[in-house]
Symmetry: C2
Subunit: 363 residues, 2 copies
C-alpha cells in the first residue's frame, strides 16, 4: 500500500483532500491564553482535560501558558502523556480490575504526581490492595454534586470515604473532585464547604478541591472552595460552546473541511463528511454541525461517510459539486477521537501535522 | 510506554479489561452463511460492504462463502483490501479532486476489478480527465430511487449519464447502483427496469445492476432487475437489525464488554463504556444499546467514557461494582471504526485478535 495521505506544511488548505479536521493555530493559542487568564485572575489552578485533543504538543502549550497538571480519562492516555514528560496527571475515573491496577502501579512508580478518583469502598479497597507495596497512590473522593453521573451522594459519604482512603494501606488522600451539572455553583460550593469543614474537624488535610466541566467554565470563580478547575473543550471550542455563550464562532479553532460530492436537487447537497467524521453527537442540537460558509444550510442527516444538507433556506449562491466547505462540529472532543492525525493551519496554509497520540487507547 | 494492552488467544473473556468489543466466531460464521444462502437461493450475487468490519480476514471468509467482490467506501480502504488480495472492489462514492484521482488511478492500474460510481457530469468529467491515459476505469451510475441521498433522480437522467460515461475517454460504463430507502422494492425495480429498457434501446450493455442496504436485505429478491446486492451490517448484526426483524439478539456477533464502575444510587449504574466505545448513534432508539445481562436496564446517557444506566425497571438482582456486562450496540459499523483491533471469542475464550486494518483511513 502507498503511504497514507497526509498534508504537508506549506500546502494551502483548499488543496487538501477531505474530509479533514483542521486546527487554526492563532485561535488555538488565543483560546489557551484566554481561559488561563481567567483562571489566573481568580487565583484558580487550571487543569486542562486532554481528551479534547489527545496531543502532547497541545498539552505542552497549555502548561507553558500556566496550567498546573493535566486531566486524563484512561490509564493508557496517562502513559502517553507521562512519556511526553508530564508529571502531574489526574485520571478522573474509578479504576477497577487486576490488569488495570498493575499498569496503574507501574505508572505511579515512575512519576510523582499521579492521582486517581474513587467513589466507593469497592474501588478504594481494590486500589489499596494494588498499591500496598511501593509508592503510595493519591486518591481523590469523587462527589456527585448534582451531575448525576459518578460520585458519593453527600458530604457525609464523602467524609466517610476520605477516612477510608486515609486508613487504607498504599493510599494517600488527595482531596475532593466533582463533575457538576451546569449552573449549579451554589450547590457545588455547599457540598465542598460542608465536606471541608467536616474533614477539618477530623484533622484530615484536603490538598485539592477540583471542580470541572466546560459548561461551567467561566463560572468557576463562583465556587470559592475549589482550588482548581478542569476543562477540555475550550481549547478548540465548538458549536456547543458558542451556544453556552463561552465564545463566538470565530473562536472555534476546529473546522472540518468537507467537499460537496453531489447536488441531486436544487435544495439538497451531499458532503463527504458523515458520522465517521463529524460523529452523531447532537448535544441537544437538531442537526449535525454548522456550515460556516453557508450558515442557512442545515446538515439534516449523517450516514457513515455522507452528510445530507438541506439548502432550502439558503438565499444566495448555493454550493457546487467539488466546492469545499468548513463545518464547526457540535462536539469537538469526539471528532478528535476519530482521526489518527490532526492538521494545523494559519491563514489557510498548513503549519504542521500532529499525531493524535492518545487516540484509540482502549482503557 | 508499555505495549498497548491487547487480549491473547486462550484468555477467558471475563478476565479482559474493558471497554472492549468482542466478536463471537460461531455467530459470525452463521451470519455469513445465512445471508449468502439467501442470495444463492435467489440467484443474486452478493457484495458485502466492508465498512462494518474493516478487517481483510473477515472479507476473506465472506468471499470463501460465495460473495462476489466487496464494497468499500473510501479509496484507502480499497487499497488496504487490494493489498490483502481482493480484486473485485466497488467504491460507492463520488470521487472528486486531483489527489484522490491520482491514487484511484494507481489502484486501478494494479488491479483489474475496480469500480466506482458517479451521479453527475462533474464527477464523470473529473474521472475521465484522470483516466484518459492507462487502464480505463469502470463507472456505475448511482440512482436515487427514493433514498434521498446521492444519485440521479430518474431513469432519463440515468441514461443520459450512462451515455456520458460511454463516450468519455478513459471510462467504461459498468452499470447502475442504488442505495434505496427501506421497503421500496417496487420503486427500485421500476427505476431499474425503465432504465435498462432505455439503455437496451440505445444498445448500451449494463453488466451490473447493484441494489443494496441492510434494511432491505431479505427483500433483495423483490428487485428482479438487480444482479447483485450489497450489505454490511449483517456480518455482526446489531440492535437495529433485530428491530428490523432480520435476526434475533442471539444472532448479534458483537458484544461490547463493559464494567460497572460506580453504583451511586439504588437505581443508577455507571459503565466504563461511553460515546467513545458505543458511539452516540441512536438510529431511532431512545437509548444507547441493550445490556444483554440486564434487559430491563436502560442506558439513558453517554458521556465520552461513561455510560449512565437507569436500573429502576430491573426487577431482580442489580449489577454490582466491578461486574462485567455485555452490550449489544445500536449500530455496529460505527463501533468498529473506534477500535484499532477487534477481539474474537468462542464459548467465552479469546480465539484471535485482528487489526481493524481499514480503520481511521481519512478518505
Amino acid at each position: 500500500m502507498m503511504d497514507l495521505p497526509r498534508p504537508k506544511a506549506g500546502q494551502p488548505i483548499l488543496d487538501l483532500s477531505t474530509p479533514l479536521p483542521l486546527i487554526d493555530e492563532d485561535v488555538l493559542s488565543a483560546n489557551i491564553a484566554r481561559v488561563q487568564a481567567y483562571m489566573d485572575a481568580h487565583g484558580l489552578k487550571f487543569r486542562p482535560h486532554i481528551k479534547t485533543h489527545k496531543i502532547p504538543a497541545i498539552a505542552k502549550a497549555q502548561v507553558e501558558a500556566g496550567a498546573k497538571g493535566i486531566n486524563c480519562q484512561k490509564i493508557t492516555e496517562a502513559e502517553v502523556f507521562a512519556d511526553a514528560g508530564f508529571d502531574d496527571l489526574l485520571i478522573t475515573f474509578n479504576i477497577l480490575g487486576l490488569e488495570k491496577l498493575e499498569r496503574l502501579k507501574a505508572l505511579n512508580d515512575r512519576i510523582g504526581g499521579l492521582k486517581v478518583v474513587a467513589d466507593s469502598r469497592t474501588t478504594v479497597d481494590g486500589l489499596s490492595q494494588g498499591f500496598a507495596a511501593g509508592r503510595p497512590l493519591t486518591v481523590l473522593v469523587e462527589c456527585d454534586t448534582g451531575g448525576g453521573r459518578c460520585g458519593v451522594r453527600g458530604p457525609e459519604a464523602a467524609v466517610e470515604l476520605a477516612e477510608a482512603i486515609v486508613s487504607a494501606p498504599g493510599l494517600t488522600f488527595g482531596g475532593l473532585l466533582t463533575y457538576p451539572k451546569p449552573d449549579s455553583e451554589a450547590q457545588v460550593e455547599a457540598f465542598f464547604s460542608a465536606t471541608l469543614s467536616a474533614l477539618e474537624a477530623r484533622g484530615i488535610a484536603c490538598p485539592i478541591v477540583s471542580n470541572g466541566g466546560s459548561p461551567s467554565l467561566f463560572s468557576a470563580h463562583k465556587v470559592p472552595s475549589a482550588t482548581e478547575h478542569r476543562s477540555g473543550t475550550y481549547v478548540y471550542n465548538d458549536r456547543s460552546m458558542v451556544r453556552a455563550g463561552h465564545c463566538g464562532f470565530e473562536d472555534c479553532a476546529m473546522h472540518i473541511l468537507a467537499t460537496v460530492v453531489s447536488r441531486p436537487t436544487e435544495d439538497r447537497a451531499i458532503l463527504d463528511a458523515g458520522s465517521k467524521a463529524l460523529t452523531s453527537d447532537l448535544l441537544g442540537f437538531a442537526d449535525f454541525g454548522l456550515i460556516l460558509d453557508y450558515p442557512e444550510a442545515v446538515i439534516t442527516g449523517l450516514s457513515e461517510e455522507h452528510g445530507t444538507v438541506d439548502l432550502s433556506k439558503v438565499t444566495g449562491r448555493k454550493p457546487e459539486i467539488g466546492e469545499k466547505v468548513r463545518i464547526i462540529p457540535n462536539h469537538t472532543c469526539v471528532v478528535s477521537n476519530l482521526f489518527d492525525s490532526m492538521t494545523f493551519q494559519r491563514n489557510g496554509i498548513v503549519t504542521r501535522v500532529e499525531e493524535v497520540k492518545a487516540r484509540g487507547l482502549v482503557w
